[in-house]
């Protein structure tokens, strides 16, 4: 039971005994017509808007704001009782290339380089036009976020990128942007309704998306809670409903290795029902089996936690080792997939450490305190103590740290070709900070196929009338591997595009 950490899943396990048991119960539920296909036009609509947005994360709120700017009447729904989904709990890193902040720090970057990094990490499976759109519009998207009040105060490195380009929110959490987007959307007159969950899309006889069938006053995760309500969307529906990292049955369909053993960094509602509803209405899904594990989570805390913001700040400064040998096993600045695969291959958690100089230079004090307070980050006066605490062979480990410190002085790693930053210092000043690492399911690169206008592509490979997708619900932007910090620009950019286009669609009916 100790692996099962979120209350939603806990409830569902205690109810039925095991995940497989829960699957049986789900099958036994009286589902009626909901089980397949879209919903037909209802006799009566319970609510009407020009643009209906599903989801209150970065993408959904960007869509809502732009649709309001296009003078559309906007209703935003979210099945959860809190705003933002994963956007409100992420680390707040927003990658953008060629920004004034980068220039002031002497970082030489360009949209071309960012697109190249995204495509290389994505194993060139990214839809090139979508990836390039993210890179090209990233600086403008960051500026848009700043204009509505979000504040960014540092530029971080994220594994797999060529340069530092992750602009971080002062809150060290995506909530710093979500809260400003919420304020802006509300000020512009968008209506926002929580605890309303999409069950099916409504399609007209000639195949246009007309609105959605929902359950209002829905109480996650109880599917029989709430009342059925039909919401008409005169101009368009924007699905910004997130990914499905927390839907164990669904994710295992695409990657059978991702059992319940792998917990997730995501909020419990990242279960992807709206994506499935769109597929049942004729939408094409793409690259669903590329599911990302975050290599920087700690088994000593839950969810996303604080440790990712220690790890990602000290890669290229500190050292990651296999505690069985005390030696390094993979380059610390590798991309998420490379690093997560390497840790899983060890078969046990890795250990990462940095000394006081590097930690104090790089890690946000609030995040450091959070990690120390919950016990996931530990402090040691000597490398020997550290080695003993993690059952490492002391000699080889101390030798490894010395060797790494030599690489740091030369700014070159002949062992594993890790990037070493200009301001990296040899790890010699105690106390030493260390954490254990074991990957968690973090992001689903796949989702609904979209074109450059954020229109959802149907099974006939044509854009579906009246349906848009953005954010993690949209697939294909990141290919095999999403680089860290690239979700925020992708969400904002395609959310805005979806809102602009849906807002100016010709109304039906």
């Amino acid at each position: 039971m100790k692996d099962v950490q979120d209350p939603a899943r806990r409830k569902f396990l205690t109810t039925t005994g095991a995940a497989a048991g829960a699957a049986v119960s789900a099958l036994a539920l009286p589902r009626g017509a909901e089980a397949s296909g879209p919903a037909p036009l209802p006799n009566k609509w319970d609510a009407t808007a020009d643009v209906l947005v599903v989801g209150t994360g970065f993408a959904g709120l960007a869509a809502a704001i732009e649709a309001r700017n296009a003078s559309a009447e906007v209703l935003v729904i979210d099945k959860m009782p809190v705003p933002g989904g994963n956007s409100a709990i992420n680390g707040g890193d927003f990658c953008a290339a060629g920004t004034p902040m980068q220039k002031s720090l002497g970082i030489d970057d360009s949209p071309e380089l960012m697109a190249k990094d995204m495509l290389r990490a994505g194993l060139y499976l990214n839809y090139p036009e979508l990836a390039r759109t993210v890179a090209e519009q990233s600086a403008a998207a960051l500026e848009w976020a700043q204009k509505i009040g979000a504040q960014f105060d540092r530029v971080n490195y994220q594994g797999g990128h060529s340069v530092k380009r992750a602009h971080q929110l002062v809150e060290r959490s995506g909530s710093g942007l979500v809260s400003k987007q919420l304020e802006k959307a509300r000020a512009l007159g968008a209506k926002i309704e929580f605890r309303t969950k999409v069950s099916r899309l409504v399609v007209t006889k000639d195949g246009r998306i007309a609105g959605v069938e929902t359950r209002r006053n829905y109480r996650f995760p109880n599917d029989s809670s709430g009342e059925v309500a039909f919401i008409k969307a005169r101009r368009g529906v924007v699905l910004a409903s997130g990914g499905f990292s927390q839907n164990i049955a669904l994710r295992q369909m695409f990657d059978p290795r991702l059992t319940a053993d792998f917990t997730s960094t995501n909020h419990p509602g990242a279960t992807g029902e709206a994506t499935v509803a769109a597929c049942m209405a004729g939408a094409l899904s793409t690259q669903m089996d590329w599911i990302q594990l975050g290599p920087w989570t700690s088994p000593d805390e839950k969810g996303f936690g604080y440790i990712p913001q220690f790890v990602e700040r000290v890669v290229g400064y500190g050292v990651m080792v296999d505690p069985a040998t005390g030696k390094r096993f993979f380059k610390e600045t590798g991309n998420r997939k490379e690093r997560a695969d390497a840790i899983i291959l060890l078969g046990h958690p890795a250990v990462i450490l940095a000394d006081t100089t590097n930690t104090m230079n790089m890690v946000d004090p609030g995040q450091l305190k959070g990690a120390l307070d919950n016990g996931s980050l530990r402090k040691f006066d000597t490398l020997e103590d550290l080695a003993k605490a993690y059952d490492m062979p002391v000699g080889p480990f101390v030798e490894q740290v010395k060797r790494w410190n030599g690489f740091v002085e030369k700014k070159k790693d002949p062992e594993l070709d890790c990037m070493i930053f200009k301001d990296a210092a040899p790890n010699v000043k105690p106390p030493y900070y260390a954490a254990r690492l074991w990957p968690r399911v973090h992001f689903t690169m796949g989702g609904l196929a979209i074109n450059k206008d954020a229109r959802v592509v149907g099974l006939d490979l044509k854009p579906m009338a009246g349906l848009y997708a953005a954010g993690e619900a949209a697939g294909g932007i990141h290919g095999a591997v999403r680089l860290g910090g690239c979700s925020m620009p992708a969400c904002v950019i395609f959310g805005r595009i979806a809102g602009q286009n849906a807002g100016k669609e010709k109304p039906w009916g």
Binding site: Q5, A20, R31, A249, E273
Partner: protein, 179 residues
């Protein structure tokens, strides 16, 4: 149970998942109800038997509570002591004892609907609530980095079922005792 969770998916389980994929995935959690009591919207707060099937849930030696209000309870059940009422009864009892009725929160007490947090905040000013708990360790539960001071009260403070510590689903050391 751990062993079962850890087991690799066998053919049967994969087949199940296949069948499942055809459905909108449903989690079969039963609705939590308010114990065995049958709520009566006409009941007075101090008339236990009106809802509790003719039997008072109070201990036998408990003083008669007829005509008492929440403030009177505090004489024995002082907040912060081990006799505090927190967690001993569903929270709506406190609202009733303080003089509210079902309709004070649910506009239509006959067909009660989920209460919006704005309604709670009409009495419990979120800024004041946050100020009251500002010194709590390890952090203020009413002013979060993620949701500010206006998070839905009902995330944690349920009225008709056991309250929960919403923060703890990620923050294992936020060991708040939730009334």
């Amino acid at each position: 149970m751990t062993a079962r969770i850890r087991s690799q998916p066998g053919p049967a389980r994969v087949a199940l998942s296949l069948a499942l994929a055809a459905l909108v995935f449903a989690v079969a959690a039963p609705a939590q109800n308010a114990g065995r009591a049958k709520l009566s919207s006409a009941a007075k707060a101090t008339d236990c038997k009106a809802c509790h099937a003719g039997k008072t849930p109070l201990p036998q030696q408990h003083p008669n509570i007829a005509g008492k209000s929440l403030g009177d309870c505090a004489a024995c059940h002082a907040p912060g002591t081990d006799r505090a009422l927190r967690g001993r009864m569903p929270l709506f009892h406190a609202h009733l004892l303080a003089g509210l009725t079902c309709a004070s929160c649910h506009a239509d007490a006959k067909k009660p609907k989920l209460v919006e947090a704005d309604r709670c905040m009409g009495c419990h000013d979120p800024e004041k609530v946050a100020a009251k708990t500002a010194a709590m360790k390890p952090t203020n539960p009413h002013n979060s980095r993620h949701y500010g001071v206006k998070a839905d009260c009902n995330l944690c403070h349920h009225q008709h079922e056991k309250s929960e510590n919403y923060c703890a689903q990620c923050h294992n050391n936020f060991d708040f005792k939730v009334p």
